[in-house]
């Protein structure tokens, strides 16, 4: 039974332009952390990610949700988590502040993720193992499929998972090989050209076969120049992704993406405003065969459904610390599977939680094991930091979801 709830506002300033992009010049990576203590003495930890200012608002909203979990048994709760998720996310007064987006939805992510962490720790297994060992019925019962009925019913979700059962064993080989990573940190927006070149070489030496550069400069020539630097250093065999972080409007995006075609980007990410469904559709058509990626700022399953229906985005970057946590991440992954679109999470969690989720997506849902973003900057703050060796995430072995933070370890003592 959950007996104590603790919410913490933790912020980590970054050094030397790390984390900078075209829109976010000086972020402070921050977590609104929920900890749920069980009467067995085990603590589940989950969080949502923000860029600093307003992290306290997410904490306050998380407190409102978390309070409602006191007295609940975690196994009972997770046996029908979909219902609880629906109830919390549609709280009749709080809902006005979204619905299903912004501060309240980030808060729900924090609380949801703490539930999953507690669940896995109580069972004494890593989250990926808990998830892949669940039956299709048990999985679907953790999901809230409301407003998806036109694309994904309960029965359809169940059938999708059942259809993958026979191939699960074979796909478990990924657990030994490790899940491929890609390096996001070679070219933060405010890094000088020389540092980008250097980082690119370092990433290659570390075994990465995919890397990402921030674009979206006031002067597009800077973007073109830097993109070609990366391509030149990396060579043609390496996947190079470009990330504009919403900097362009539609006419600009069409023009600049067309100019970027020449360096053969693997995708162009967040070219314009994340709410602009139609602009992405027009852009995708205008710059084909260049592919788009988005999702980092898409708050819920309903908007992902719309993007999937419109076919504009070739990679979905769902983030379980932006949407309503693990539960909604799985819901969206099912939707993506139905539409044949790969899930390549944005990692506000620095990959800690997502290393579990992509293993589940691959093994139990049949998603392609493409690669998972890797951001190293907060490694030292995690009790069990993700291990990336030769460009590959090593499969985590400790119980839970790898989200415990060093500074909060003794929170309840």
């Amino acid at each position: 039974m959950i007996t104590k709830v603790k919410i913490s506002d933790v912020r980590f300033p970054l050094d030397g332009h790390a984390g900078s992009d075209a829109i976010h010049r000086d972020p402070v990576y921050s977590y609104a952390v929920t900890q749920l203590k069980d009467d067995s003495g085990i603590t589940g930890t989950g969080f949502a990610f923000t860029l600093g200012e307003g992290n306290d608002l997410v904490c306050k909203a998380a407190e409102y949700y978390a309070r409602q979990l006191t007295g609940k048994d975690i196994e009972d709760t997770m046996a029908n988590f979909g219902e609880l998720f629906k109830k919390l996310s549609n709280d009749q007064q709080f809902r006005w502040l979204g619905p299903h987006k912004g501060v309240v939805h980030l808060a729900l992510a924090s609380v949801t993720n703490a539930c999953y962490d507690l669940w896995a720790k109580k069972r004494g297994v890593p989250l990926w193992k808990l998830l892949i060992d669940l039956s299709p019925e048990q999985i679907v019962n953790t999901l809230d499929l409301s407003y998806l009925e036109d694309e994904l019913t309960y029965t359809q979700a169940l059938e999708m998972l059942k259809g993958q059962q026979s191939q699960k064993e074979e796909r478990k080989t990924i657990l030994y090989k490790g899940y491929p990573g890609y390096d996001t940190s070679i070219g933060w927006f405010n890094y000088p050209d020389e540092l980008v070149r250097e980082n690119c070489k370092k990433a290659l030496a570390e075994g990465f076969t995919a890397m990402k550069l921030k674009v979206g400069s006031v002067d597009p020539d800077r973007d073109i120049r830097r993109a070609h630097i990366v391509r030149d250093v990396a060579g043609d065999g390496i996947k190079v992704m470009l990330d504009a972080n919403q900097q362009w409007n539609l006419p600009q995006a069409i023009e600049i993406c067309t100019r970027l075609k020449g360096m053969n980007p693997y995708w162009i990410e967040e070219p314009t405003h994340p709410d602009d469904l139609n602009a992405h559709a027009k852009l995708a058509q205008a710059i084909t065969p260049v592919k788009l990626a988005l999702g980092e700022h898409v708050p819920n399953k309903i908007i992902f459904k719309n993007y999937l229906q419109s076919g504009s985005s070739s990679f979905m970057q769902v983030d379980a610390v932006r949407v309503g946590g693990v539960s909604e991440f799985i819901t969206i992954s099912l939707l993506c599977k139905k539409f044949g679109v790969p899930v390549v999470p944005h990692v506000g969690d620095m990959g800690q939680l997502h290393q579990h989720l992509v293993l589940f997506n691959h093994i139990a849902m049949g998603h392609q094991a493409l690669f998972l973003e890797h951001i190293p900057h907060l490694q030292k703050h995690f009790v069990h930091p993700a291990q990336i060796v030769n460009g590959v995430y090593k499969t985590p072995q400790e119980a839970g979801s790898s989200c415990d933070l060093v500074g909060l370890k003794n929170q309840f003592l």
Copy 2:
């Protein structure tokens, strides 16, 4: 110069099921209020609307924005408000919590609206008069048109307003006739049938020619029965609107809206989730000629642009206390004008602020003077409550935007 800033969390519990709808069973109408005191002694008041829980979060976010206005001159600020709006709404850390939606955007509405109120009070005129007397350039300079470049550039906005100049004088007759209202309070969700019937008769006696019923019952037969009650009492000459408050998923909406065709609704409002652009497009097509209305939960100009492009909604219910305040309300109204779609605001402000804005939309922008929602429940809390006589809003004459609240009058004494 703005010298003092005060944020207040005010909540008004409602009596006897007033305000109830299919999703919000027991709302507490609440305002996150921003007051800006000028060194001339004048106080500008603006607010965002919530349903109670979490109103404090909006207040906290409003404080963050409002602090940045201290020391500014209101005339200087409003001469180029579009730039300030863009800057505040893209605050590089705070932006993560939206962008442009949820708690942070509600907070921006509160602060923006306080600026407009202060501006009008300093000039000693009602807000509608201030707005219609501005030149097209002055209006467009209060707007942030970013991410709309594919549909509405600065020059196009300017031309649209210039093109209406010659008809402004003639349209001012509305100031004497008053702007038509419609009655939203005849059929709150939890009102019994008999009360709906009674309220309907009362609304007719008060001179209303349009009224709204809440639908979205678990049992659709209840919706059908109550809709026909209203139609029977009102007769064929009265406009009857139905409001489902997002209760249905797409398959349900298609089925129930088709059944509701028989009572000839003037519109069906918020049939499903406000983020579901594609569902609205499919529904509109499936139930034609029945028309849809939405906007109450649409947070920004970009999503409105998408709805306008998809052509699914025949009435746009922008709410200046949900989107980023008066500035974004005008931006969206311009977009709507371009697409030939009437603006019929949702009135989280109980019509206090919107009575000014619809006059501006009609006189200076050439929008049809259709009708403005009327909700009477908070009348006594306003210093200058909207006057509805014979179903018509009387034109407000006091300086400002009519948003001063009785309890906050002496805030700065």
